[in-house]
Symmetry: D2
Subunit: 384 residues, 4 copies
């Protein structure tokens, strides 16, 4: 077991030293593929870009379960002074995808050892570009990663920097938000501020848009379906006295309801009505982001029970607040019963207290071999 643990940790630190940006995971995916191949697992490469898929077929027929890891790093210059510090200036595994890959490869090692008792198959999905919408998940799904053999359930893992190492958290239902963005341009004739009747007052239209948007949310959506929308940017004009020809707004939409199709229509309807009332025109670009990540309750219960049986796991939580960030794991969870497992990566003693996406982020990789075991045992339970 000591060897296994060392190997998982070495893999994580290797990936950490050589991070690659989204859609450029050439060496990372090569390394993943070679590890899988060395284990005797069938590998296919180049799915959805640098995506890699390993297939471990059990000796007995059964279902197929997939385990997904993401591979890309972020454009951040690491500030940690550690032996495994990033060697690529300006690129850093600051979201812990290095750990995800190592733990999933660890589970491959463990499951390979149990191939003879496997009732069904395990597919290992290593995915590019989680950080860069539209993301690698949708491309790999489009290129058939869930078929042949067709997958019945999907597992994924993500570190939680505010949960202590040694703990596992498994939520049920919608557990990471769906997330869209939009950009609005409000265009009008412009004019002198002393003569507003000769101009379309683009700033007033933009202001009514911001105010009305919140009113629509509360009235058109049930409390359960209601998304959170915020405007993050507003900009128009240069001087005190000239009504500008254009105001630009940017906003974000977060939601936990599986059906969010109404939102862009409502945004458009407000803009239509305001420009019809006040004059001017508008341009709306609404970009769908990742959908809601939905944890199947039964699958979550199974994983929770599995975790409870592993003594190295000191606590199994189920009630932390769901997250308003989003992950392209959501695409799998929209297709199939899925469970996204959160593992604690925080360690105050070791100084791993910084949040994801910062240049001081680090995690307790000593817990990763346990995560590998949780994945392995969850797969075995599921395939029973």
């Amino acid at each position: 077991m000591v060897d296994f643990e060392r190997r998982v940790i070495e893999l994580r630190r290797h990936f950490h030293k050589y991070p690659e940006l989204s859609n450029r995971e050439k060496k990372t995916s090569g390394k993943v593929a070679s590890v899988l191949t060395s284990l005797g697992i069938t590998v296919r490469k180049g799915i959805g870009g640098y995506g890699v898929v390993g297939l471990l077929e059990g000796t007995k027929p059964g279902k197929t379960v997939a385990i997904r890891a993401d591979m890309d790093a972020l454009p951040i210059t690491e500030k940690n002074d550690v032996p495994y510090r990033s060697c690529h200036d300006g690129v850093m595994h600051a979201c812990g995808h290095d750990a995800h890959m190592a733990a999933v490869l660890g589970s491959a090692i463990l499951l390979k050892d149990r191939q003879s008792v496997l009732n069904g198959n395990v597919k290992f999905i290593f995915q590019p570009a989680e950080e860069k919408p539209p993301g690698g998940a949708i491309r790999m799904i489009d290129e058939g990663v869930l078929n042949d053999p067709s997958v019945d359930a999907v597992f994924g893992i993500h570190g939680a920097s505010d949960v202590n190492s040694g703990e596992i958290v498994i939520l049920s239902g919608p557990m990471m938000a769906g997330s869209d963005n939009f950009t609005v341009g409000i265009m009008g004739s412009g004019g002198h501020g002393a003569r507003p009747e000769q101009a379309d007052d683009t700033i007033l239209i933009a202001s009514h848009f911001v105010v009305t948007l919140q009113n629509i949310l509360n009235r058109k959506f049930s409390k359960e379906e209601q998304p959170v929308i915020s405007i993050g940017k507003i900009e128009g004009g240069n001087s005190h006295n000239i009504i500008p020809k254009m105001v630009t707004l940017k906003g974000t939409v977060r939601y936990f309801s599986t059906d969010n199709k109404k939102i862009p229509g409502e945004v458009r309807s407000i803009l239509n009505s305001l420009t019809s009332m006040f004059g001017g025109e508008f341009d709306l670009t609404y970009s769908k982001g990742y959908p809601v990540t939905f944890n199947n309750p039964e699958l979550s219960e199974l994983v929770r029970n599995t975790a409870a049986g592993i003594k190295e796991i000191v606590k199994v939580g189920e009630s932390i607040e769901r997250a308003y960030v989003s992950d392209d794991f959501g695409y799998y969870s929209q297709e199939l019963p899925s469970c996204y497992m959160l593992f604690g990566s925080r360690s105050k003693e070791k100084g791993f207290v910084y949040p994801h996406h910062t240049d001081r982020f680090d995690l307790d990789d000593g817990f990763l071999p346990v995560v590998s075991r949780l994945l392995m045992e969850s797969v075995l339970h599921y395939l029973q």
Copy 2:
């Protein structure tokens, strides 16, 4: 008369060739002073910066009337191809102050000739920095230009680029707007757009400010006192999903009511209330600009009647729309009975059709000697 006309036009073209920016009217004021001195008019220099005052004392006691001209040019590169084109790159008499000086000096020549029949005195005020608030007028007034002897009435002239040369327009009552500016900063804690409850939504506060501002106007001011307020700039935030820590707005206020003291208080009251409701703080900088220019009805009637008696003046108007631009002549009109006369400067045949403050602006200086005569005769009528 031909000599007089040539002299006025030469003066105008001289000033046009050698424009100087606001508060830098060194050579211009020197030239003005030397012309006045050469006429035998007592001159004081260095009032309110480069301000020049000439005093012509009549032989009989009476009232004192002032005639004001402004001297500064604009930071514009002239595009006209004329013999008197600006010799100072990037500086241009694009607001016609060259013509104002020439016509007023012309009136000095004519009045000097009539000194023996003058019942009272004439003060010639040549003022710096009309284009640059707080402006030369307020400084010259503060330094006593209206005293010693104390002035009873003030005349001023301004070209009108949309009125044909040969025509004079004399409005009654408020004829140029008072104009203030303000800048608002709305500051809050900022935060993630998915978690608005943890942030002060500065963009929403700014939007309510824009909407409410117009509501206050209609409700707190009578139709007569109500100013026009427009927001010309709004800016805050950079990304779709981060609620910014600050939004900046800039706005302009135009009014024709003599008492506009309520406005800054109302703006502040809205901001106070909105930040009290929504959170956050604000910063308001309210800059008073030039006050309303108010034409005294009796004085306007006198000038109108005088103009009607001058055969070179083809039309005397009184009903064009009052202007939303402002002029620091307003300061004189707040102190004393005043009349700001508009003279037509447009000539389609000569190609003088461009508006003020553009690089193609030019004016028909053939009309200036007539304007000098209008000033002279108005002064004589007034002092009778």
Copy 3:
């Protein structure tokens, strides 16, 4: 002269004792007609209901000038204890139309005496239903009261309860507002307040309407054309928790611009846009009221000069604030050069200090014979 004065006052008090409501001025108009007939003036009755027209033809050809008086009283129970107290319970000349009739009949007496020197004709118009829109003026105009012979100018008079008896006020330009009313119904599905997403929130739509209406005014109209709009009634719903199926709003529009055609369209546009955004439907009833009363400047000058020549008139004003109330005299002023003269009716010594339309209103009828003379002399000046 003493007899003439007594006669005018007796007429006023007679009318005061026997007031009649709008469109029921049967006896009043009969009395008017009999007085005119007794003077030898040709009378036509039954124009626009109980309208009466008297025509006094001069002996020399010339223009035709009309003098208009209104005849109807108000549904108010008089509280004054005077000998000429209203004999009709619940009906009272609380707007002074009794005085208008008496003064105009007085002018008929005076003008009849001067028939031999009249250069033209005088038409005496006694009009029903000024207090009840659409009013008697428009009906009498439609039935030809301004034709045959066609009228060139119209005079009218109205008491001013805040101006002292003995004073005359003649404004120029727009001097009484145009006035429209509107009623809006906002209809929606209704529903439980806990489930707003299943209802159209009619109260929210109504609230946005009120807020947006003021924003439109400031932006779509120049300061000069901008009407004053206020909502005087809002009503919808009964309980805390049921979103009502309907909210009703009533509002008033006042304007001094002759062209107010844009207003109903803007109101409709707001309602269209809001129901398109928020759901629901609306119903708009926009009722045009009396137009702006516009005093022709030349005619006003003529009357002002005439008044200045009458020694019993202690003051001729021209600068009190224009009124936001409206009068169907506006219809005449939209057709022809008109002058609506205001005469002081207040007398602190006599206790005549109550405003129009109250049950304590009374006026100093001792001044009415002078008003008759002002009308007579103005007519003579005009017809010269």
Copy 4:
């Protein structure tokens, strides 16, 4: 068992025939007390008005569990033509409290039979005035109904008219909303609509209140804590042109968060700010209603499992939508671990398809004996 069933149904029909309004449950509580006494259960009367408490002490020491039923009827005239039709005109058990009492008395019968094996005690709480806030629950709690011996857990039951008879639904967490009401008066000087600058525009203030209220919700509360607020009534003014001195609004607040203390403060803050901006004053009456009914997850799981073991229960649901109505059972659930069980009362064949609080409401009382058994067995499980 047949006798037991008949007895429960007879009890229900007896209560149904003789309904009594809130706080007038004299005979009803007398009947309840006599049934309990006849069973040999110790009874205390007159707690919180007509409240009745029965205490059944087990032979072995243990915890104490309470079962609560409500006793009051509604001011509705029954329209059903059934043998047990209400004998009291204008009063009707249209919310099924008759059934609640019968089923709980049924559970008392069953538990009395098992007294010898009871590890602990059972308290039967029959409560007045559930339909009339502040409700009987809070009064009984204040008068000590949960003490002596102190209660460890509370069970309650409520019929569900949209769930078929034979089914049981047990939700977890917040399952009925907290509900408050408020009334706002906005007072100002009033005035003529043509002169808004002389008045406080109460209707505009009310409109801004409605608009801003929804904006505050979205910004000041997390999605989870955010209440639903709707305005159900707005009223002010009578005529088109008079700005009223007062506008009244009534609204409802529904929430599922246990801490709703922020809400009245936020409502007050908006009103404070708006009157500070626009003028006028306000009056806010905020009435706390029943709190959230929160089902303890462990207790709910226990009841769900118990129900699953009773073969007459055809289905055990856990996922119908939580309700936005509120119940004063919420007070117990705020104090102690509680479970409010919903039993299906609908039967299409028998014509029991009308919703609660209507004059055609009826329910399938054949299922009540099973509900009694569910209560009995849940108690036994809990006390084990």
